[in-house]
Subunit: 430 residues, 2 copies
């Protein structure tokens, strides 16, 4: 039996995502009502520029006073798609104080203040859902936090930023350099005018913090995530990757240490074998690979951004939060009981692909190999190429701690016979 | 604050899946308790052969009287991993009557009697969860029914049977025939001694019925699903597929008609382009491709069977059901409000790849082309190859109703110049 009093939704932000949320709430109102068990009503839309024409949204719903909207007292669910830290954080906290549950797409805020926001939600018996904050439309938060709740997740490795994947895919398929590929991404609207948050890995790092927290039942903050952007990846790196049967992706990697006693989270470009499912993720798509004790290897793939895909995730959460509200219950909140220490990057175990420019004379390889051995780093393959009195050495290592690997590189740089370290890249997914 | 009285779980069946469920419940008891908010206790295990040694399960928990276990009255959750229709159906119904919620991995039962079982659950304010019934460890039911609850799903297309994917992958990669590949699958334990349920598509059809029901908010029964097995796929079909840049997969396809007013569900082998994400699903893995209005294209990938992966899905449901119970709430039940008619196979829109053995004389192509035109089927490509006075014609059609396509084939068979129809295969994923 359907309740007739509608659930009231306040929408904060009406940009690319918000306008899609409003549109679908209107055009699919009957479906949403049937799935929730009660109608949902758009009770107000807070915007910055009220003059902008917003098709399908009644003008009397539009306000510039987001705080007043949140404080109305009759709002059941606040949907926050403003982004950024403030005023989003204060509005969400206020929403809880005034009895609403919250659906948010705000990865930066969740990565920075997730624990405090979850606590505020719990204090007020409210829900805080944020499927849209990571990997857009791809159902990921809910599968990790609910479907795999009976399993032990050991690793989450994903392409969680569409802009950088578009650029790297373009470099891979056309041989273009970074700047050329970035220019194309900008022209096509895949990159913003200031692409820093994407290309320097800040966006991916925020998502890595959220994913690691959920996967390992441990608080992981943005500051805990090692971050390296992809602006220095070159066409030459792609050529090296191809020789190894690999491509290069910007990966967010959250791992449990082998002994299970700590976790790491990092974002950096890495070579992965073409046979790995993540290697074939093209264009602006996202994909996340999850490894767990019982389930084994899972992958989730889909559009990582865009108005409609992100709205899909927001509305899925909206349905769940409304259902919880009708049930007088709340969904799973923060789960941080494991409270594992987050280790620094030096403790991450990975492989390196290192290109060295070396003097073309006998004994160089022996010298180089000795440096690896002294740092306890085992070499997988070495390829030596001579050209015009110079030579290049390409070394691929076995797995070792990142600290040992960077120590090795440091020592290599100080060898007289090493003229330069042309590139260093981690190798993942094997 | 954690409740100290444990939730009691009755496990029905202790085979490959059940023993893994019991093992993880024991070894990960602390994690499960933390995630649920109360400890869970294995209160009894119903088996057929009590003499079999079951490592890690206290002998006093083992019983052959499943009915008595379910009727104890103190059971919170019944986990049914027996499979088959009876006694599973009666035990589940009894479980609801005695106040328990149910987690099941039983695709055959859900596909046949899902509506009645959901009604029984609802009558008793209990949960019926069955993530493990489709695609093993892959979170799929929950994403479809919760994450995409605010979206409109138009198509679900997947590889949902690991045995047949193993066989087809083997045929593709080695050029082996069906029987040879089946023999290898049997030897390696991927196929059962009687592989009928897998290779004839019964297993996939049950999963298609469940997926279509959830995706379209409509009751879809096993009988509604068109089913064609893969025992007649030949090495020659794979050769034809390769020429088209395709491979062959046994697909479960659930589609909403273009006008939105009806749905179809079908299982059959089909050619799909190598560039399609489903084409690269190897071995016994499963993957499901979902297309929706707002989210666009999503894919879910992982192990589709096996003790531990299936147990992962069962335990994820167990955590959710236990949490609901502590909250005094229930999760989403059956959602069949859309009640769309399920159209027969003839209404499905698809493409055909048809190989004809024809007389090698002028005018044959014109005759054949006329038959297609008369049935309103548009031809995409034709390839004609002569050999020893005979010729073969390979025709690939544009999209048309399956009824028009099979009418065309029927008419082609009656042409004097057509000596035989060597193969017919649907083409999907473009």
């Amino acid at each position: 039996m359907m309740r007739t009093r509608p659930l009231k939704v306040a929408l904060l932000g009406c940009g690319v995502v918000g306008s899609e949320v409003a549109r679908i709430m209107t055009t699919h109102a009957d479906d949403l009502a049937a799935r929730i068990g009660a109608p949902v009503e758009l009770a107000g839309v807070a915007v910055r520029r009220p003059s902008k024409v917003r098709e399908g949204i009644a003008p009397e719903l539009v306000t510039t006073d987001a705080t007043a909207l949140v404080k109305r007292g009759d709002i059941d669910v606040v949907v926050e798609v403003i982004g950024g830290i403030e005023p989003a954080r204060t509005l969400i906290t206020t929403a809880f104080e005034y009895g609403a549950s919250v659906v948010s797409a705000n990865k930066a805020l969740l990565a920075q203040d997730g624990a405090a926001l979850h606590a505020a939600a719990e204090d007020h018996d409210a829900d805080l859902y944020y499927e849209a904050a990571v990997a857009g439309a791809i159902p990921l938060i809910r599968p990790l936090r609910e479907s795999l709740a009976g399993d032990k997740i050991n690793r989450v490795m994903g392409i969680v930023n569409g802009t950088t994947n578009f650029i790297l895919d373009k470099m891979d398929s056309t041989g273009a350099g970074y700047q050329e590929a970035l220019d194309e991404a900008t022209a096509l609207g895949y990159a913003e005018a200031d692409p820093t948050a994407d290309v320097e890995g800040f966006d991916a790092a925020a998502k890595a913090a959220i994913l690691a927290g959920i996967a390992f039942h441990t608080r992981v903050r943005l500051d805990d995530v090692y971050r390296e952007g992809m602006t220095e990846v070159t066409a030459a790196d792609f050529a090296s990757a191809k020789e190894m049967g690999c491509t290069i992706k910007l990966l967010a990697i959250c791992e449990r240490a082998a002994d299970g006693a700590s976790v790491t989270a990092r974002v950096h470009p890495a070579m992965i074998p073409l046979s790995h499912p993540l290697a074939s993720v093209r264009g602006a798509y996202n994909a996340v690979f999850v490894e767990s004790d019982a389930a084994g290897q899972l992958m989730f793939y889909g559009p990582g951004a865009g108005g409609a895909p992100t709205a899909s995730a927001v509305l899925g959460d909206l349905v769940a939060v409304c259902r919880n509200r009708l049930n007088g219950a709340t969904g799973p909140g923060e789960s941080a009981y494991a409270a594992l220490p987050v280790s620094p990057m030096g403790d991450s175990v990975t492989r390196y692909h290192i290109s060295l420019d070396v003097a073309d004379k006998p004994g160089v390889l022996a010298q180089v190999a000795t440096v690896f051995a002294e740092h306890g780093v085992s070499i997988d393959t070495v390829r030596q190429q001579g050209k015009d009195g110079e030579a290049s050495l390409v070394v691929v290592t076995h797995r070792a701690s990142d600290a040992s690997l960077s120590g090795t590189v440091e020592a290599l740089r100080s060898l007289d016979t090493v003229r330069g370290v042309a590139s260093i890249m981690r190798v993942e997914g094997e």
